[in-house]
Every structure is written in structure tokens, then in C-alpha cells.
Symmetry: C2
Subunit: 247 residues, 2 copies
Amino acid sequence: MRIGEIAALVGLTTRAIRHYHHVGLLPEPVRLPNGYRTYTVRDAVLLARVRRLTELGLGLDEVRDVLADDAGRDLAEVLEELDADLARQEADIRERRSRLAALRAAPPGATEPVSPALADLFAKAPATGSPSAALDRELLTLLDTAGEGGADVYAALGPIAADPAVLALYERLDELADAPPDDPRIPGLADALVAAVPDAVFDAIPGDGGTGAVAPAVVEALLAEYAPAQAEVVRRVMEAFVRRGRR
Amino acid sequence: MRIGEIAALVGLTTRAIRHYHHVGLLPEPVRLPNGYRTYTVRDAVLLARVRRLTELGLGLDEVRDVLADDAGRDLAEVLEELDADLARQEADIRERRSRLAALRAAPPGATEPVSPALADLFAKAPATGSPSAALDRELLTLLDTAGEGGADVYAALGPIAADPAVLALYERLDELADAPPDDPRIPGLADALVAAVPDAVFDAIPGDGGTGAVAPAVVEALLAEYAPAQAEVVRRVMEAFVRRGRR
DNA sequence: TAGAAACCCTGCCGTTGCGGCAAGGTCAAG
DNA sequence: CTTGACCTTGCCGCAACGGCAGGGTTTCTA
């Protein structure tokens, strides 16, 4: 048989067969005077074995091992390992599909695939035009991905999410967008913000202090997001939290 | 933030982030005078989005598409496609695992992962030292892989698999290993073999004639497996089948 | 008997999402 | 001043082939 014929017989492509020769999985067969490979029925039997094994999901290296060991002993071992691997993959896929399903179930404006707990929180909070509030949402989304905060934090934030008074605070912060860094409204707003956050939120935050386990460079980058006066407010709020953490 | 800091923040490696820049998934950020990349919180939010999407199983191209389209509309579409893909993969893995389970359930000497129907047939036939019988087994295994014969053929072969008279025929074929191609025992054995195969087997074979849909080169390769006198027997048997097919 | 279709050959590049490694430059602390 | 921990670019490797280039052979067909 020539390569195309044996390929059709065992259900492989000629490319695959040549590949197997190339990587040493199968020895090169005898050549005709014109250079064509000629295969015997034995080769077909071998190739069929290879096909069955690869279809089960074995890699070519493993197939080579199984073919080398005449005893079927090694095969059982390899198959067990393979099954474990497939089980892991299957669980993995199911995991992803379930998260996908949860994500697809809540399409109204949900531009972000966040955890269910955070999605709940966002659902409670009314959509607002406040840039500061939008930034907060982004930060929560970020921490959600990083796995920093737990669901506890979101739950603790729940009660104030829908509070109109909180929205008013965001608007006061927005108003500082073009204010100088010594604007007189800063201290009062910072105090109001600190007071607005219930202790439960603070307790739910893991780590050492008010800024959690966040590196200094991250804090710096965060402050850079705000206008000068707003950054000053945020800085004061964070300091207050750190003090609260030391208590 | 520098690259290591943002990587730790969103749970990626620096290599991955640089890779995203490299393939154009994310624009290169501003550089410090020393050449270091500096990231903002915005970048972190973006990277977090990328991480969530890739963790769901999207490819980088798809992530790029989703990030490009500001509307979430395209996202829903991509997610649907992704879910279908994952479903397919999951079914695939389950398929393989079930075949694997069937294979692992029957370990006694089963060196070959064949279809259940063929495994049944092999279980019926006693293990024999006959080389001819062994070759037949290999051929059946081969055809089993190729998906040529169906379970019908195996079922039709069942009744004669355990027949001691069939074994005797194999032994007569073995005895021709060193015989000349004009050995007088040839015609009688060929007739006996043809007579031994029930019509049901023939009826179960798909395709046009006695040799099924097998190409001439395959037949040639098959005959090359036998000693001259044995090949002559096999040739006569096949011819008889072809004649039977024309009837 | 030519021409075209259908085979065959070797060899190299592309795929996916990074990890590893090499060969440097930079910056903080001891 | 020297570690050591960062950062930079860039190229190779991975699994199992598919595609293509560039060329020879065989076989069918007009």
C-alpha cells in the first residue's frame, strides 16, 4: 500500500502519518525505487492502534510509551492518569459554563462579568451619572477580579448602596473636580464620607489596615485618578480608615 | 504602578501582560524615563476585564473584539458562541471518558482498545496459538478501527468463533506455511473455509462485493502477509466471496 | 500520445498563550 | 559598593499537525 491508501484505510491523513514518522513514533517503512513509502498490513494494524489511542486523548509521547511496553501493564497506568486528566478538564469546563450561564442570565446593561455577590450589589445601587461613583464601581470590579475583597464586603456595603444620602456625598465629591487642593469643603466632606461607611464594611475587609493589602504604588496610582481636591479628600478618608484599623 | 505591581494586583504574570501588549490586545502604557512601563488604575481595570474574559475561555482575539465594541451586544454573541463551543468540548470529553471507562473495565489481557462488539467476539473465541487466527484477529481489529465493518458482522461471526472445527481449519492453514504454491491441499482447504463462513456474515458486510470496499492495493498487501501456499488459499476464498456477491 | 488530474516527495512556516532563558539596565537597601 | 529585586528586549519552545512551495511520478482521459 502507498501512504494515501493506508491513510484512507485507518482513517488518518497522510500528513499525520508522515508526522508520526518524523517524530519517531513509527519507523519509516520500506521505500519503492521511486521513493514512495510502501506499507504492509502490519503497519496498518500499528497505525490503527495509534489512532485509537490518540482518539482517547493520549499524547504522542504516551502512545509511544504504550507501544514500546509490550506488556499492557503500562497502558492501564497511562489510562488511569488520562482519565484523571480528563475528569479535571471536564470539571473545569463545567465551572466555566456555570459562570458563563450566570453571566448570560443577567444581560441588562451588565457590561462586566463580575461575581454574583458584586452583581447583586450593583443591582441595588441605582445607576448614576456621578463620575466618582462610576470610578468606585470600577474599583470594586477590579478588586472583585483580583479576589481581594470577599462577598462579606459587598454584603456590608449593601445597606448604603441605595441610600440617597450616599449619592449626595458622591455629588459633593464630583463638585470638587475643578477645585484647588485647599478648598474649604474638603475636611467636611472627608468626615462625612468616613461617617457614612458602616463599621461592618471595615470589619469585613481582610488584611492589616484600612487600605487592605494594597501596595503603596497602587494607592498612589489611585490618587492620580482624582483631581487634586478630590485626591485630598480620598487621602483623608484612607488615613481615617488606617487610624480606625489601629484602634 | 510598575508592571510587577499591576500584575500582582490583577492576578496575572508580567509575561502575560507584556504578551498582551505585544499582540496589540492592550496599548503600551506610558514609559518612565528609565524605560519602565507605568500603569494607571484604568489599566488595571482593563486588565482585570481581560483576565475575567480569558478565564471564561475566550481567545485573545475574541477578547479584543469584545473590548473594541463598546456596546455589550457583541459580547452576548461571543458568549453564546463560546458556550456552544464549551458544550461541544464537554460532550467530547464525556465521550472519551465513557470509552475509556469501558476499556478499563475489561483489563484481562485486552491489549487493544476495540469496540465493545468486537471485544465480545474476541471473548467468545478461545485464545489459540495459531498464527493465522492471530492475523485474523489483527485484521478484525484493524477494520474495527477503520469503522468499516459494523457490529452486524461481529454478531454474524459469533457462532463460529468458538467452533472447534474452525480452529482446525486455521491449523490446516498454518500447516501450509512452508508448502509450495501448488500444494495439493490448497483447493480442499479453500472450499472448506468458504463453506465454514455462514451466509449471514456475508450479508452483513457492506459494500459491493466479497472484499467490501477495500482497495486492490490493500488486498495485495494482505496477501503479502501470507506464505505462498497460504496466499493462494486466501485468494481462492476471496474469489469465492466475490462470486457469491455477484449472485 | 500528449495533457491533465491525482498521487507522491521534502521542508519550512503558522497555529495558541504564554514560559524560559539570555543578556543586559535600574534602583533600593545593607 | 555590592547584592538582590526589579525592569528591558528578543528569540526559542510547546502539541499535533495543516498549508504551501517546488518538484517528481503515475495514471486516467481525450
